[in-house]
Symmetry: D2
Subunit: 371 residues, 4 copies
């Protein structure tokens, strides 16, 4: 059982998310980063390769070169991980899939919905695996929340509230992380709605096991001069008639990465917060409140299998991310990982962004979400 | 400096809010409950009078009798407190004001907007004081939050999120507290939006010192067979262009009385939660987070004057309520209490309910809120 | 059912605890403050009487005068409440009991153990009621904690940890509240151990329903020049062999009134914190954690009877204090209130102070606590 | 800059701490696990090697074989990591150091103080690096806490309270993790005091930058039939005269891994909790409370360099552990890592255990802690 070999696209000097992908991929000892095109600047790509401590020859100047060189090696890469800004996702995935390499990609899937549809075609044609790193669905207690919902502990779901407050773009968008996110050319038509709203959307559907069927979107640009939305309020309707609210903002000063989700059914309610990810709060109609602990004896099998430490030894963002990679590794080995976000999730997310942006621009009221 | 004498209307056996008004009114030793029409059933009114330990003669069978009898006494009541269901508010206030008695009333002001306008006329004609018990604006740290906003600590306000989740009406609406709240004849056209949405609305305007100018309302009936809304999502625009969200629900199982408000400006953000009312969290753009404690040295004069205990000795709901009565007593004594909610707040609240109900029914999108 | 009439001893201008006793006594409408010797300075006593809005004639210059005058009235006081510094407790109680007036007193019972023993004699001789305001045992969830322990939910108790951190005496002891507390002539031989350690001690015995049988005390004076202990660590043994720790400090900067208690038995554990008094956390050996809410359906009868508001409407310190007065009123009416701290608790508390002070001074190791 | 190569001793099937060391060592891409003696049973050692996905040839049956084989390879291990039960630490370290291999070891350093002294001799003789994985001192906010103390933000330290409650040994000690911890032959003379008390002791000295000079220890055996302490209360005195309390227990049902530390000085106080490791609370004498966030702009350089993610993206136990390995890797590369716990910390910890066990057994009162 050798480790799977990963080639990274993006993640060069100054990137936050590249090292995160590297740590997450390697955490469970099933994957190792061995190659990459870390920057479109060959010198910077080499420099990043040194930081990642890979063989200098395998820090490539461009994707074509990487694919050709790796294909020629006996120990060539098994898949690529795409961690560059959104507008690079489709071109990179097209080349990788075309060369027979499975793809795991940061979200959102592409810059535009049209691109996502093209991507879906490539995935289908290639017959290869494709996964999207919706990190937050990798948290053990998110898995537990979903399991409890599916087990009927809450009864029929009536209401979903998902919030994703951040404050880091309340001022000018400075620095490598910020600049591309506020640039339509690199980010696509969605700003906040694409960057974090899509996480909230995926989480809501993931935990509820319901599909959003209608949205009423109000996307605003709060910081003067910005070209993309930075504050989003979206009302939701789900396939079973449940009501929902999705709030995402990047201008709420002091908010860090406050993703949280609450679900309420006929018989119970639950609450999970990303910033305190190791507890899940469950309420029942008779007035009881239970705290479920990561690593604890109350967890179902899916959550239990995704914790590495006993209760009280906090795991966090990197471990959740690693759970996504672990599922991807399982898929590449031919095992099943039904909860790994794939191309269908990718299409739903891009449709959500596209629908919300258009509906808000047109002040259209309730609009169907049709993938 | 004798204590002011209060006559209560409503608050009979089984009522939750009557004893709360009694405790709140008397807490600071400035007011005493001496008379009342606690029930429209004379026997039950007498019975309640015994529980309140007032002179049995002063537990009256109806308002007319009380007004006449109290007017005839040297130690007659100085004002009335109306704590009955909404549809009684206007008739009771009309009689009291007509008899020269100032009025303090539970919220919302009346059952309908038309009634509120009539009430405003009576208040104006009488020249008497009228106050509305928006309890939550009596909390010291809500006063502090407002003071910080007015001092410019947050810069220009850009976003207000106010949430009021409850779960107690997730099942059948049983018991004295619940039954009238889901009955249009007694509650008026608003259910959840009137019962708690109006608290959230008042809090948002109170803390931000801004007026809501537009709403987009989506009021739902979740529990089958119910006649009034029990789950509300409302998007807001404020007079300075700030964006807002108001969520109120009574079907979110496990939520107790989870009113909370967050405001974000150009320079900072703040958070206050009713269930943990003795701390106020303040964030600044440079990444600092400060916790302000009730009773502590960081409080401004308005908040400091409304705490009775040192830090770490928690005050709560009853003390906040008492702060409203303390302001009302001050007004009756001829002092100023500019933050006491009065007839203008009453009209704004009823307009909010009326506008939200109509806008939601008509699926009208953004609608102006015009008082 | 008229209200009982209270005469207060102490609580003059600048006192924190006098108004607290007044609010607590009157909260449930069963008691009213009508008379007092609020200060040993007659002018200041009158001045306080005005603030309390009592009949000016009944703000007396000294206790003898009050007792004589009130005895002569048809509507004279029913009992006295002693809220002055410790060294006044015995003299005041002696006079009151001698005049046939029941006594409720702030803690600790007296300045010295010898005084407490004398007090116990007076109480016995008089046949009158005596109560001690150990406020914290009035909290509903403290009652619930005790009920759960008695019900065997935790199994045999093995460990009790009670902590009472404060920071307000970390600097110079300035102001009326502080000055007498650091003065052996007014406070007695115990500083922190008497002022708050005795609360912690009472709480530990109250919730566990066990008696402390041995202590190992280490009382320190941290602030230079201080004459009484301001930082205390005490190890405990209980009657059933359980181990315990009691920590109390008044020099822990930033701590407010952080009383908290944890109990652990063979089958479960529980945690209660005074600063978040409306939740009780319960753990069971199988890994479950339950949150019990004040006002909620999970409460036993004793706790339920001591909450005034539904879940989510926080009650606090004043309401807990009022529960002590409510029990005292019940006793005066001839009802039973078995959990009201009385003269036995008073003796145990003074014995604890005396034993801890001596044991620490002599560095005596484990010492029996013999009342 | 190749990755350093690690050989593990211990960490076989069923071990919790082996995989933790593997993840921590590899997290930052500076170290890779390539060899090991994972069990004294050769078959089980091979089996573990498969799980770790190392070259099957390098899963050795015993330490002598590993050392010989690895020395003979061009790509042999650079150091060993000892993760087996305590009684193996000294023999393993002796062989490794004798073979010229630096050692990183789980805590406590050895089973007995005599062994620790022998170990110190081997370390000195070898001239090689030795590190002890006191994980908790690797948390960024623990580093920040220490930096704030050293900067004088709290003034002279007066009081340290460190608590380490656990509950997992409240019942019978079953399973691989538990069995050796309650066995004197494998654990040494200390149970809870050695397993977690020593972490608390190291944390207290680390954050305060003070040395404990005296202890008063009360170690108890709560679970019937157990041979080693499972509940510990220790009073402390520090080199500057500061007072301290150290509580550690493994029988507190419901407690998970509740290590927490509070320090109080003349000017301020601070609080850090391992289960919520991404915030540090700081109080100042003027009544202000600040929350410092991991990853945030308020961090000093030492803490900032040890966070991998922005604020709001929680890091946890594994990342703290990785920070210890990162420091060790730095030392092996010839860089400085002054805060990495080494042989001096090892000796202090073993002296603490030895002193506390003896003092408690003899009921000796205050005893000097002399390394």
């Amino acid at each position: 059982m050798r480790r799977l070999r990963m080639g990274m696209i993006g993640g060069g000097p100054g990137a936050f998310i590249g090292p995160v992908h590297r740590i997450a991929a390697e955490m469970d000892g099933e994957i190792e980063l061995v190659a990459g095109v870390f920057s479109s600047n060959p010198g910077r790509s080499r420099q990043a390769g040194e930081v990642y401590r890979i063989d200098p020859e395998r820090a490539y100047p461009d994707l074509g070169t990487m694919v050709a060189a790796e294909k020629a090696r006996a120990d060539g890469i098994d898949f690529v991980s795409i961690v560059s800004p959104n507008h690079h996702h489709l071109p990179a995935a097209r080349v990788a899939l075309g060369a027979g390499l499975p793809v795991i990609s940061d979200k959102p899937a592409t810059a535009t919905l049209a691109e996502a549809r093209e991507l879906a075609g490539h995935v289908a044609t290639s017959g290869l695996s494709y996964a999207l790193t919706h990190t937050y669905s990798g948290y053990p207690l998110v898995r537990e929340a979903r399991a409890r919902v599916l087990a009927g502990d809450l009864g029929a779901i009536r209401k979903v509230v998902v919030e994703y407050p951040q404050g880091w773009l309340a001022g000018a968008a400075e620095g490598k992380q910020a600049e591309w996110r506020v640039d339509p050319a690199r980010s696509g038509p969605g700003g906040c709605i694409g960057d974090i709203g899509t996480h909230a959307f995926q989480l809501a559907e993931f935990v509820s096991d319901l599909e959003v069927t209608e949205v009423l979107a109000d996307l605003g640009i709060v910081v003067p001069g910005r070209l993309l939305d930075d504050d989003c309020s979206v009302l939701l309707r789900f396939s079973n008639g449940a009501r929902g609210v999705l709030l995402a903002s990047q201008i709420e000063v002091g908010e860090m990465n406050g993703l949280r989700i609450r679900l309420y059914g006929e018989k119970g309610g639950l609450l999970w917060r990303q910033e305190q990810p190791n507890t899940l709060t469950i309420h029942t109609l008779d007035g009881r409140t239970e705290i479920v602990h990561a690593g604890g004896s109350q967890l179902g099998p899916d959550a239990a299998a995704r914790t590495r430490t006993p209760t009280g030894h906090p795991e966090g963002y990197l471990e959740a991310f690693a759970n996504i990679y672990r599922d991807f590794a399982a898929v590449l080995r031919g095992e099943s990982a039904p909860l790994l976000p794939g191309i269908e999730t990718a299409l739903r997310g891009m449709t959500f962004i596209d629908t919300a942006v258009r509906a808000s621009r047109e002040n259209a009221g309730w609009v169907r979400l049709a993938v």
